[in-house]
């Protein structure tokens, strides 16, 4: 399937879709902020639901602002549907979480085998965790080097996209 950016609806089988709002346009680069959702997002009270991330960094939507280059004439305030390649999402999650967890258990397991005490096991696990985070950083740099994992413009949000959320 050809991977053109502006005109074709590339469809749900290849991309994980999400809605975002254009907050700034600077030349050929548009800055978008994703629309936050609740953990369920399916009841009538979801707009007022308190389970929205309670002051966490990611709840500050500005922190998750991202750029879209070569946009098709977007204007500030427009709602668009962007997509991330589904395999890229899984690879990103594995890179960010699986690598540190593996090194956490490796460090903790080695410490438990060597000393057998809870205190040293904790130190070993934490050391492994931080080493894993370093390895994840290297893995993430490699993952995003090709540019295929960046969010892509799919279409302008229409009536069918009026319920924001993960699709």
């Amino acid at each position: 399937m050809p991977e053109t950016m502006h005109t074709l609806d590339l469809g749900p089988p290849d991309f994980v879709e999400g809605t975002a709002r254009v907050v700034e346009v600077a030349g050929s680069t548009a800055w978008l902020e994703p629309e936050q959702t609740t953990s369920c997002g399916h009841c009538a009270a979801s707009a007022a639901c308190g389970a929205k991330g309670l002051g966490t960094i990611a709840n500050r939507i500005a922190a998750r602002r991202f750029a879209l280059t070569d946009h098709p004439g977007l204007r500030v305030g427009e709602r668009v549907v962007v997509g991330i390649r589904s395999d890229a999402l899984v690879k990103a999650a594995l890179t960010a979480y699986a690598i540190p967890l593996c090194t956490l258990f490796l460090g903790g397991g080695l410490a438990q085998w060597a000393w057998g005490q809870d205190g040293t096991t904790i130190v070993g696990a934490v050391t492994g965790l931080f080493l894993g985070l370093g390895a994840a950083r290297l893995g993430a740099a490699r993952l995003f080097a090709g540019g295929t994992s960046a969010p892509r413009f799919l279409r302008r949000a229409g009536p069918a996209d009026c319920q924001p959320g993960l699709k």
Binding site: H42, T56, A58, A93, A96, F144, P151, L166
Partner: protein, 193 residues
């Protein structure tokens, strides 16, 4: 080694956190429309549950128990979990800003996930050592992720099926979840002791 394997089998299948203990049902129903998003959410939850359970065990062993502060357990655990989520967000953002943009949406959803607190309280009740607690927490979250992915696959199939109007949406989802819970009850015959 065998006891760790049995602990894992028990936590993943026999006492599955979603289908046997009925924890974390909110995100189970809300983030399982696609297998990819379910996998992302499952991995994020696995990381947070494992790290927060480690910290909660340490808080229980070195702070609450020695000083007789058991009545503060729930409050302290919730604070630790919120801190663990913040830590995860900060580290993911530091590790890779593009990763944070991609995965950041899952993290605030975990703060209010009752499965995280539930697993922490269960491992305290089990009076396990640090490594056993960490393995139990990791296995519980793997069970959580497994069920999320299975359910997401089922819902993707259901989206293509002809469902009676009255059952469309959440009703058929809950019926499917109930049938899945019945299927997992078959694992309860496995002896882990």
């Amino acid at each position: 080694m065998q006891e760790y394997l049995l602990l894992m089998v028990g936590a993943i299948l026999v006492n599955n956190v979603i289908l046997a203990r009925f924890l974390g049902l909110c995100s189970f129903m809300g983030v399982t429309t696609r297998v990819d998003t379910a996998m992302g959410m499952g991995l994020a939850t696995t990381f947070v549950i494992t790290v927060s359970s480690m910290l909660n065990w340490a808080a229980q062993a070195y702070l609450l128990e020695p000083f007789g502060l058991g009545y503060l357990r729930t409050v302290v655990f919730i604070l630790v979990i919120a801190g663990a989520v913040q830590f995860t967000e900060m580290t993911v953002r530091k590790v890779s800003p593009p990763l944070f943009q991609m995965l950041g949406i899952y993290l605030p959803l975990i703060t209010t996930n009752c499965a995280v607190l539930g697993v922490a309280l269960l491992l305290i009740e089990g009076r396990m050592s640090f490594i056993e607690s960490t393995v139990f927490a990791f296995a519980s979250s793997i069970g959580y992720s497994l069920v999320m992915v299975i359910f997401a696959g089922l819902r993707e199939r259901l989206a293509l099926a002809e469902i009676p109007r009255l059952f469309a949406g959440p009703p058929i989802g809950f019926i499917t979840a109930g049938l899945l819970a019945l299927a997992f009850m078959g694992f309860s015959g496995i002896s882990t002791v």
